[in-house]
């Protein structure tokens, strides 16, 4: 079996310029630079930096360079021009709202350094490669010997000899290895201090005068770790995600928007996925993943229904609730309340079973809803309704 390294956990991606701030805070050398939201601001930063600068789109997507989101500018006017082209640009469906303007560096060589939490070994794992500047998964596929993986025992943290071993794999020149040892050590410090699930420097460059520097930075933060680090929550770029997902997060719902037309509202992540799969099985396409969680709070049901109904693609909405801790009557009350206060256009079909099932059926019947007890039936019916709409 191929050794697969998986990033574990829900996570918050932050922008390159934010990641570089975290790096700078622990002492990792990064080029001077600032973020701009207007072309004039970009020109001012370029002026202040002097010399050649790089204007880089700040979006949560790879391949910015290929998409024309990264440009060199030799003077402030050119930086303004590039910024005006890049701001507002769409990259992989995401609109660019910010550019990072940094001093350009003369690059002698490019390497890769990354650390993430590996679920198989349940520990942080470093991956480094002297082949930097390109996608590390590509290097892994085409030239696996060019990557060194090193697991960090969480009881000891990254030990000095391990940091040196990583650096020694990157550079045969002892002066460069010494700098890289320090950078790797600091990267691990930033990784743990900010509860990251992933932190990456790509490329880590050697400049013309032999300095090792982080040119691009990518960091994902473990959402569970954010609780203890409220300062990091401010790094979240709400503009970079669909509005429905922002609303879901605020309502404490697990939600992922998809492209289909059958809206799904389920309690429990596994059951929610199985419900989506069943939609597909019966010939439909799910419009979303949504888990209302274990709570019986009717407010959550209301918020869930509103989020699903606000998607114009949705042609039918299905509820699939297995009452264990969640009480079916609470969910039923939430559905009735939501449809009373908000206009929900698509038809709603409901399956409820388990705790307080009988009371729930009564509530729904009184409000004019009919309900199923089998999962297959409700999904088949929802797909049919969506197809007919």
């Amino acid at each position: 079996m191929a050794q697969s390294i998986g990033v574990g956990g829900e996570r918050m991606d932050i922008h390159e310029y934010q990641a570089k701030e975290l790096f700078r805070a622990v002492g990792i050398p990064v080029p001077a630079g600032e973020v701009a939201t207007t072309p004039d601001e970009a020109a001012r930063i370029a002026q202040e930096l002097g010399g050649t600068v790089v204007v880089k789109a700040q979006v949560h997507a790879g391949g910015r360079g290929k998409a024309g989101g990264v440009k060199l500018a030799t003077h402030a006017d050119e930086a303004r021009e590039h910024a005006s082209n890049i701001l507002g640009m769409e990259i992989k469906g995401l609109t660019v709202g910010k550019v990072l303007v940094t001093a350009a560096e003369e690059i002698a060589s490019e390497a890769y350094v990354g650390v993430l939490v590996d679920r198989r070994t349940q520990s942080p794992v470093f991956m480094v490669s002297p082949e930097g500047g390109i996608d590390i998964e590509e290097v892994a596929a085409t030239n696996p010997d060019a990557i060194l993986r090193l697991h960090v025992d969480p009881r000891y943290g990254l030990l000095r000899h391990q940091a040196y071993r990583l650096a020694d794999f990157l550079y045969s020149d002892p002066k460069l290895a010494k700098q890289a040892t320090r950078i790797v050590t600091l990267l691990y410090r930033a990784f743990t201090a900010n509860s990251c699930s992933m932190a990456e420097i790509n490329p880590l460059i050697v400049t013309a005068d032999g300095e090792v520097k982080a040119i691009d930075a990518k960091v994902s933060i473990d959402d569970s770790g954010l609780r203890g680090l409220p300062a990091l929550e401010t790094l979240r770029d709400v503009g970079a995600e669909p509005a429905s997902e922002t609303k879901a997060r605020e309502a404490d719902l697990s939600f992922v928007k998809l492209d289909g037309d059958v809206g799904c509202c389920v309690n429990g992540a596994g059951l929610a996925m199985a419900t989506m799969d069943l939609v597909k099985y019966y010939g439909g396409e799910p419009a979303n993943f949504l888990d209302i969680g274990g709570s019986s709070n009717p407010d959550k049901v209301v918020a869930a229904l509103e989020i699903i109904a606000s998607d114009p693609n949705v042609k039918a909405i299905l509820f699939n609730i297995f009452g264990g801790i969640t009480r079916c009557d609470d969910v039923a009350r939430g559905i009735v309340e939501a449809t009373r206060t908000t206009r929900i256009d698509p038809p709603i079909v409901i399956r409820l079973t388990g705790t307080n099932e009988t009371e729930a059926m009564e509530i729904l019947n009184q409000a004019g809803f009919s309900a199923f007890t089998s999962m297959d039936e409700v999904v088949e019916r929802a797909v049919q309704l969506a197809a007919e709409a």
Partner: protein, 295 residues
């Protein structure tokens, strides 16, 4: 017989005075579990009353609870910021089996807590799991006891309600369970599929096993490979998340396809290659189990 918990289980509830802890303590006691102690720092000396007139003593520390009551199993209902610490406290006090229900423990904290549990020779189930139930014997966690019944099937799953769905169907079809185990939806958990399959193998009452997986990671694939070589009992498998997009977390922190790894297709293929009967829909699980039991 049953696995991990049975009538010998002596349970301490960590976070017994909290909203979830108190509610589920009553439920667990009602299912026949011997709840011998509760722990809430600062509330030592108080008593938690359970419905049949039982009185559960509360202690400040798990250490004291173990010394005073001989507790051997713990269940954790404390908030995520304190849950990794609670797991380590239980292991440090010599608790052999620890069940962590709490969702949202930072992954780096779990990485350390899990190492601690292993160093102390304890077993952790979870976190972010519904716990487990050995019907008619003991329940630790939040699985609704009324959908279970004693019988010959072992159930192990990364999910909560999807497990209830499967177990409910089994029970309605008259097929009981030895133990139903939710191993949890987090990327770093204490007890994995292989651990459970191995326990079911050694349990002479378990005749067939339901294994419910989902996208993310390689735990199911490794379990299937292991089962082929080592199990010697029939397994019916189901994988949720065939329609999940890559790179997005599907509710569970661990339910995420990284790159091209951890897809439902990959897991289903591994099941089939290793002799695990695959249910396409949840409803098929019961049919396949009937087949495997020859009923």
């Amino acid at each position: 017989m049953a696995v991990f918990i049975d009538t010998e289980t002596r349970l301490v509830v960590q976070g017994i005075t909290g909203r979830d802890g108190s509610f589920h303590t009553l439920q667990m006691a009602e299912s026949g579990t011997r709840v011998v102690a509760g722990v809430t720092p600062g509330k030592g000396g108080q008593v938690f009353e359970i419905e049949n007139g039982g009185r559960v003593p509360i202690f400040n520390t798990v250490d004291r609870a173990v010394k005073e009551t001989g507790a051997n199993t713990s269940v954790i209902y404390v908030p995520p910021a304190f849950a990794a610490g609670a797991i380590m406290e239980a292991a440090d006090a010599g608790i052999a089996f620890i069940v962590a229900i709490t969702e949202g423990i930072p992954v780096l904290e779990m990485s350390k807590a899990n190492a601690f549990v292993r160093d102390r020779g304890s077993r952790l189930l979870g976190p972010n799991c519904p716990g487990l139930i050995s019907p008619g014997k003991a329940k630790v966690g939040i699985i609704p006891a009324q959908i279970t019944t004693p019988g010959p099937v072992g159930v192990v799953s990364r999910s909560g309600t999807l497990t209830y769905e499967a177990v409910d169907q089994l029970t309605r079809a008259g097929i009981g369970q030895t133990t139903c185990i939710g191993i949890g939806g987090d990327p770093i958990i204490g007890t994995n599929f292989i651990d459970c399959l191995s326990a079911f193998r050694d349990d002479r009452d378990t005749e067939a096993i339901v294994m419910i997986g989902e996208i993310g990671g390689t735990d199911e694939q490794e379990a299937a490979t292991w089962a082929k070589e080592n199990l010697g009992k029939p397994v019916v498998g189901f994988i949720a998340g065939q329609t999940a997009p890559p790179g997005r977390r599907m509710g569970h922190a661990g339910a995420i396809i990284s790159g091209s790894s951890g897809t439902a297709e990959e897991k289903i293929r591994s099941f089939k290659d290793n002799g695990v009967a695959v249910a396409t829909r949840p409803v098929e699980i019961t049919d396949l189990i009937k087949e495997s039991l020859g009923i």
